[in-house]
């Protein structure tokens, strides 16, 4: 296909004047420029006015090597397949950087994470409280290099978090979690309600923070793949692939064609099993239990296909730097393709059943609405973004695996309600089935794994994947001996929690579960 979309960012940088002249490096996937921290707000404003989107912000401790911490701002532009990364040095004595969160609410949590992990202050942040480290943690900054991973922290003193007060006659506060009623991950929700409608929701996450980014720094690259697979278990293959793509980019390794096709097939199988489960769970939350029974049975069919192809129901232990660890033979492929036809028929039965139910539609339509402008301002991506008019899809915007050979055409809706978030999933399952058949039909029996060289130390690159939730981003810097100096993990859930806060306002408390389910975010991916 086209993919000569690699000039637009240069034009924008050129027109931006001297602020961007310090090019750090360029590669096929990324451009890096150094800017002074003080000019980050102006640079960000300029890039946004030129149509760029802030994809992420994160930091790195290079005090031992360069006498600096660095803040990295990752941008993308719809007309360029590369990422643009601005790097700002921060001296340890200064230990602060200007906050952009007031202008770019999408960066709110990510800037506060930098405060918590590195002890660098986000100057002018509208709400500079802790986010990742709970209030009862001592004053530590775990991603600083001088913080040992096995530090044993003293026992924490009870809960100290102060929630925004709930005032007014007849206004009540409903605290929920961290242990929830269903089989879901932990987090705390504090609702302020007036009668049934929700006035506002406050979230508190990071209950399942398990030191993953720090842990990466203690594993050699081949073993670290398994850690990436455990960032969010329902996205094992997507996370593993994003990690491997960053590593391959650093090692200048070309992934063989068959492996790229196999990755595409497995990425789409991951999307399907999760989307089907969510479609079932959404209608289940408005009482359509039988449809959920069929949906959960269909998910089980895909998990069996996963096992048939890879030995693992959750597609673990398959992806590796350079390609995939195991290939599959004609017999396996034939059995899988044969299983996809009845799956598709049954999936159509399921969606017919759901669409024929007026009461279901009635409950989902105009429930949990996130307007397109809100979604844009908050930087909402993935399924939730596309249901609210935000047309982002890494498969098209930064092609990888075998996606350059297909036309992606993401489904985009404007209404932003639960119904549309479900519809996006339905449309995507259908497309995924096509992609799988297409990728499988051209699968040749060539090598499925390129050999990896020893990685050069001190190099860095991005790997990104459109997981079933949305954009998964890895940024890796290598250390000596095939190890990792820094691994930033950004799950799409990090971007999308604020969408839930907006979407529930004015809805009734009993609709919260279905609204939450329609976003279906990963707590583990958020908290790491």
């Amino acid at each position: 296909m086209m993919d000569n979309r690699t000039t637009r960012l240069d034009e924008i940088l050129m027109a931006g004047g001297p602020a961007f002249t310090l090019r750090l490096k360029s590669s096929a996937g990324e451009i890096y420029a150094d800017v002074p921290a003080a000019s980050a707000p102006a640079a960000s404003a300029y890039l946004r006015s030129a149509g760029c989107r802030h994809a992420a912000v994160f930091a790195e401790d290079r005090v031992a090597e360069d006498l600096h911490y660095y803040i990295y701002y990752v941008f993308e532009h719809p007309d360029d397949t590369r990422y643009l990364v601005l790097r700002c040095g921060v001296e340890p004595g200064q230990a602060s950087f200007p906050s952009l969160a007031a202008e770019v609410p999408a960066l709110n949590w990510q800037e506060r994470e930098i405060q918590d992990w590195f002890g660098l202050e986000a100057l002018g942040h509208p709400n500079p409280r802790r986010v990742a480290l709970h209030d009862n943690w001592p004053d530590v900054h775990p991603l600083r290099k001088d913080f040992p991973i096995d530090t044993v922290l003293p026992p924490f003193e009870g809960e100290q978090h102060v929630y925004r007060p709930t005032l007014g006659e007849g206004v009540f506060q409903i605290p929920v979690g961290p242990v929830h009623a269903g089989i879901i991950e932990p987090g705390h929700f504090s609702f302020a309600v007036a009668g049934e409608p929700i006035l506002y929701l406050q979230l508190r996450m990071f209950y399942v923070h398990k030191g993953i980014e720090k842990r990466f720094e203690h594993l050699p690259v081949p073993r670290a793949v398994f850690l990436a697979e455990s960032v969010s278990g329902d996205s094992s293959f997507s996370h593993g692939t994003a990690f491997c793509q960053a590593v391959e980019s650093i090692g200048c390794v070309e992934v063989p064609e068959p492996a790229r096709r196999m990755r595409t097939i497995l990425l789409e199988l991951e999307r399907i099993y999760n989307h089907v489960a969510d479609i079932g769970a959404i209608v289940n939350d408005v009482g359509f239990v039988i449809a959920n029974a069929h949906a959960s049975r269909l998910r089980e069919e895909i998990l069996r296909i996963n096992e048939e192809l890879t030995g693992s129901r959750l597609l673990r232990g398959v992806v590796c730097p350079g390609g995939v660890r195991r290939s599959w033979d004609r017999g396996q492929a034939g059995r899988v393709l044969a299983a996809l036809d009845p799956f598709e028929r049954e999936f159509n039965d399921l969606t017919d059943m759901i669409q024929a139910s007026d009461s279901t539609r009635d409950r989902l339509e105009r429930t949990g609405t996130l307007h397109a402008e809100q979604a844009r301002d908050l930087g909402i991506i993935g399924v939730a973004g596309r249901a609210s008019g935000q047309d982002h899809d890494v498969r098209r915007d930064h092609p990888y695996a075998a996606y350059d050979a297909v036309e992606i055409q993401p489904p985009v809706y404007q209404e932003g309600d639960v119904l549309r978030r479900m519809q996006v999933r339905i449309d995507e399952v259908r497309r995924s089935l096509q992609f799988i058949r297409l990728a499988e039909s051209g699968l040749s029996s060539g090598p499925h794994r390129a050999s990896m060289p020893q990685l050069p130390a001190g190099e860095f690159a991005i790997g990104s994947v459109e997981g079933w939730r949305g954009e998964i981003l890895y940024w890796i810097r290598t250390a000596a001996n095939n190890r990792i100096a820094r691994c930033k993990v950004k799950d799409p859930s990090v971007n999308n929690w604020p969408a839930l806060v907006e979407a529930v306002q004015g809805n009734i408390v009993p609709d919260f579960p279905v609204i939450n389910k329609s976003f279906s975010l990963s707590y583990s991916g958020t908290d790491r």
Binding site: V179, Y207, H209, F226, L227, D234, S236, M353, Y523
Partner: protein
Amino acid sequence: MFKILKKTFDTGLVTTGYPDAPPRLSENFRGAPRFDFDNWRDARPAAEACPTQALSIRDRGAVREVTMDYGLCIFCGECCAADRTGAVLMTREFELAVRDKADLVITAQYDIGADGVQQHLKQIHCGLQPVERDTAALEKHVHQAIHQTLGRSLAIREVDAGSCNGCEVEITALNNPVYDLERLGIHFVASPRHADMLLVTGPVTRNMELALIKTYRACPEPKVVVAVGACGIGGGIFGRNYATLGGADQAVPVDVFIPGCPPRPHALLHGILLALGRMGEKGLPL
């Protein structure tokens, strides 16, 4: 409405016969690795490749100790791929749940030569040996009160104490029509106050430690705790670090440990039924 009924009839029965009948597994399913300790010449490449250090070696002078902890194993197959001696084989074993974590460990001691090659097996200590399927004999191990009170009807409260949510994917599957936990008199409940069993996943993060302990206390007696997955047993790939405790038993007493990453639904069923004395331990693959 008629269409929905028709769909139900057309679908027919999809529920697994497990545990009464053997499960339907793919030929390609990767279960626990099996090691030929007697003839193993060099465990170094396999141990080097193991992402969780389930398989590890320690050389002291001319003696090497090889340790295999099935509690930490994620069934990835890297040891088998890295081993050049043919001593490692991936099996389709998954019924690994045990009551004592130490039963999941094998340690073997070898004399090694100057080149680091293992010359002969000096001694081996195996956790749980393969056990004959004999539920009746094993029931006596179970706390009588638990078996009598909970043996035929059980309410489970699931607690995610820091998992990656992979275990939740498989635990949720227990409720689908294929595994249909309710057919065994077992169901998930919303409150620990209604629960007889806590099913705990994750390495227990510092931020979930208190919530887990409170949930445990809220659960009425008699109660059982089941630790799920490599993380629940020993921290898994996350290990024990500034943010994790490294396993459910670091916070609450645990009765049964279910290896896997995540354990497949059959393995979860085996572990839950083991805790009730309705199934026996099967032992390690030897």
